[in-house]
């Protein structure tokens, strides 16, 4: 049999999904020691350390012209918070812009804004508000954060709405697989853990001078799971209707990975 080989260079301190330079790795021990000695919050190798102890993952996912985006994850690589920088015209002087960090809590769909902080200050805000505990989101920390940093400047997102729909779990037969694995989208097929977990269709409609796109997601057997709509001019904010329970949620996604993030949103909530 012909053999193909993959040689993988690794280091025990670093996970396979991350990539770091020799310089990052050399500075790592110093930063962790500093955090331990001073009881401070430090970021090294995409990991937030609090008083020398790993707290959570803080991964930069994107940077375009200085606009950075971050994913806050527990150590099992589940995304709990997505953070992006955004700016709106100043209400009194439209020539100026008010910039802020928008925090999107993935589980609840809640959003908050942190003004006037550099990206380097975000890990401290995450730890100070105790947003992650026991390797998952801390609902009490989230409530405290939302009280301290409410959404003021950006477009308000409607709260989650629920209509009373009675459903039967067996009517939505999901594929068994590792639900923490990465989502892949090939054509219209949605895969996780090398298994086909669903597929989607996409339609667009022009109404009132706006183009509205609709993505409908199905289980492999054809059962409709969810419908996501978004305006073509604003490809980052989806309104998602879930068939199983009649919920309407708002999901902010990275346009470069919109299908993967939309699907992961549904997977994490046991819709897909």
């Amino acid at each position: 049999m012909k053999k193909f080989g993959l040689i993988v260079f690794l280091l025990s301190a670093v996970g396979y999904a991350q990539e770091f330079s020799e310089k990052d790795l050399k500075n790592h021990d110093k930063k962790v020691a500093l955090s331990k000695e001073k009881g401070s919050v430090e970021l090294s190798l995409d990991t937030i350390f609090n008083a020398g102890t790993p707290y959570c993952l803080f991964i930069q996912t994107k940077e375009v012209l200085g606009n950075k985006e971050f994913s806050v994850q527990s150590f099992d690589k589940k995304e709990h918070i997505y953070i992006k920088t955004d700016c709106v015209p100043n209400p009194t002087d439209p020539a100026k812009k008010d910039c802020f960090w928008l925090f999107l809590f993935m589980q609840s769909g809640s959003t908050g804004e942190v003004n006037g902080a550099f990206a380097s200050g975000l890990p401290k805000i995450i730890v100070e508000n105790n947003l992650i505990t026991n390797n998952t989101i801390n609902p009490d920390g989230e409530k405290r954060f939302l009280m301290l940093y409410p959404q003021k400047l950006s477009k308000p997102v409607a709260p989650v709405m629920t209509v009373n729909v009675v459903y039967n779990e067996t009517a939505f037969p999901m594929v068994e697989r590792d639900r923490t694995a990465d989502i892949s989208v090939y054509g219209t097929t949605i895969k996780q853990d090398f298994k086909e977990i669903g597929y989607y269709t996409e339609d667009s409609e022009a109404t009132g001078g706006k183009v509205v796109k609709t993505i409908t997601i199905y289980l492999p057997g054809g059962v409709k799971v969810a419908t996501a709509t978004y305006e073509l001019a604003s490809t980052e904010l989806f309104q998602v209707y879930t068939e199983k329970d009649g919920k309407i949620m708002h999901v902010e996604v990275n346009p470069a990975k919109r299908m993967e993030q939309l699907c992961m949103f549904l997977v994490q909530r046991m819709y897909l």
Partner: protein, 92 residues
């Protein structure tokens, strides 16, 4: 991917850039990270690892995809990119 393509002749060889004194951490990480293939090597010389120098490794993880004749056909392919390459090679 290892599970999916191993029966087709796909092998994975891990080279650890751990240093002397970190051998136990390296062995533990093999289990913790679920690196289920049998081939794991290290000369425990860190960034002075002979294989790392030969393959000009400047950051990790770093991957080298080698064909059946031993020729390098891609470097630093991971995730979906690697999945697509292997799907092309093995046809599924």
């Amino acid at each position: 991917m290892y599970k999916k393509y191993n029966a087709d002749g796909f092998e994975v060889f891990s080279v650890s850039l751990d240093k002397a004194g970190d051998a136990e951490k390296w062995k533990a990480a093999i289990i913790q990270d679920g690196l289920i293939w049998p081939n794991h090597v290290s000369d425990l010389k860190g960034w002075q690892c002979a294989a790392g120098i030969d393959y000009a490794v400047k950051s990790i993880p770093f991957t080298v995809l080698v064909d059946a004749e031993g020729k390098i056909i891609a470097t630093n392919v991971r995730g979906a990119d690697l999945q697509n390459r292997l799907a092309q090679i093995f046809g599924h």
